[in-house]
Symmetry: C2
Subunit: 297 residues, 2 copies
């Protein structure tokens, strides 16, 4: 059976709906691509596009998206809450069904090579595709952001894996295979960003918090709301309900509360059926055995 | 595409594992049947078997199960908490994919006819297959139980839809098409059955409670625990989380609490992903659009 992959590129445009639409079209017009979802965040000034397809279709769509973002997005003019290094900022490839992590790594390498060859945008390989331990973590690859690329790409530690230097307007692109990542935000009942930052610090793995959790505290200026923005890199290690309960408890400790959560893009059913089992209090619940669709896929 | 159905027969044996195993084997040995789950309840003295297949496979498996239960189960010797009228007590057919309610009704009629013709067990049609309004509700068809069949089957209102009278040891079988039913129990932190009965009365639709909810208060003698046992006939009308919160609130009103919930058999992912979205507090969450597996089925 032919493998199916998910691709979840983040592009550095979340304010101009025409530009976002042209980028989305570049992807969805590729034969064999199922566009699943896209969403733009005005404060972050970035958009996430989620699509599915075979390895061949994903490769074509990724290269086409790189071409379009390079044409339309100029990072020298870009401002937003979220760290970024490229017009096509990060392009994760996730093996969904009938595909291994190794298959996804090979696919990510083909994409990175073509982005450099065809669009002259240098690429870093990260996560499971990383060729050096210090490039595994996206936050490290992105440190210094677009504005720091002139210096960073000269550092022998940070020569891109494909290409050299950086594209003057489109920066670099970070490409890699990884497990399914849940992008999840918690809105707080406060505009105090220091609380969001304190909560983020307590929950993130790198500060001794929850495993597989990356977190930042940000302020949503359009709504004057402090937000804890989280990447959960393996929901089978830290369940979504555990992350949620931890953030809710910390918010109360800091004298505020979580008003709502925001799910960016899509989520595998297992992350939710597991959470439902927990909150409903179903005993001896194994979501892989008790959900009917698990038997139909 | 060929339709896929779920079949969830309840048999009146939950104490003798050899008898249960022989009944399960009668089903799983039919070509094209996927056995998904079976569970026995000692207090109810009944078992639920869940399996999937095409219309043809389901028909063969249902007739084979009727034959085996008629051979092995004698209702004249049966005692248990749960109401029952047959060795093969009730056989619901649920259209899962690429099958309509009408397809499921036609399938249920073929099964009922063959159970009577081949095993001499008369059948009633219920739920969507019911030919008379007063036979739609399973509780009405089952009223009087096995012990009342001699009298009931003579009542012109209750002549079986297929066959006549009742099988002396195997009773009758109730066959019908229906929407996906969630069988769900709430254990209470009390052994006072009157509390379970009072909660059941408040939540059941027939007493003005929640739509699509049927409920009974029972006592689990083996554990000395009072339990609210629920059939939720349409989780898209009354969500599982709403049912749960209602029972939890009522339990507290009656000075006790829900200690855990029990899911019998299987559940569609939509019932759980919807509950997860509620409890996690995800805003604007449409589980049909945000769960990746919805796009893969």
């Amino acid at each position: 059976m032919s493998g199916i992959y998910e691709c979840v590129p983040n592009i550095s445009e979340g304010r101009d709906p025409i530009v976002v639409a042209e980028c989305v079209n570049a992807v969805s017009s590729i034969k064999g691509i199922t566009l699943m979802n896209y969403s733009s965040d005005v404060d972050h000034n970035r958009s996430v596009i989620t699509f599915l397809g075979s390895a061949e279709a994903i490769e074509e769509a990724a290269v086409a998206l790189s071409k379009k973002t390079t044409e339309l997005i100029d990072l020298r003019l870009h401002k937003g809450e979220h760290p970024r290094v490229g017009a096509l900022d990060v392009l994760p490839v996730v093996p969904l069904r009938n595909a291994t992590a190794e298959d996804a790594i090979a696919l990510s390498e083909r994409i990175a090579e073509r982005i450099w060859q065809e669009n002259q945008v240098p690429c870093y390989l990260y996560e499971d595709s990383a060729r050096y331990p210090h490039r595994k973590n996206l936050a490290d690859v992105r440190r210094g952001e677009f504005e720091g690329l002139a210096e960073k790409t000269k550092d022998p530690e940070w020569i891109p894996d494909f290409g050299e230097g950086y594209h003057l307007s489109a920066g670099v692109t970070v490409v890699g295979a990884r497990f399914f990542l849940i992008a999840y935000n918690f809105d707080l009942a406060t505009s105090d960003i220091s609380i969001a930052k304190a909560i983020a610090k307590k929950i993130r793995q790198s500060n001794g918090g929850l495993p597989c959790v990356k977190a930042l505290g940000v302020i949503l200026e359009s709504e004057n709301v402090a937000q804890v923005t989280v990447n959960l890199t393996d929901y089978t290690v830290t369940p979504l309900w555990k992350l949620t309960e931890e953030v809710r408890a910390l918010a109360i400790e800091y004298g505020t509360e979580v008003t709502s959560a925001e799910l960016i893009g899509l989520v595998p059913m297992g992350a939710l059926t597991d959470a439902a089992g927990h909150y409903l209090g179903i005993r001896d619940f194994d979501h892989k055995k008790r959900v009917i669709e698990e038997y139909l896929l």
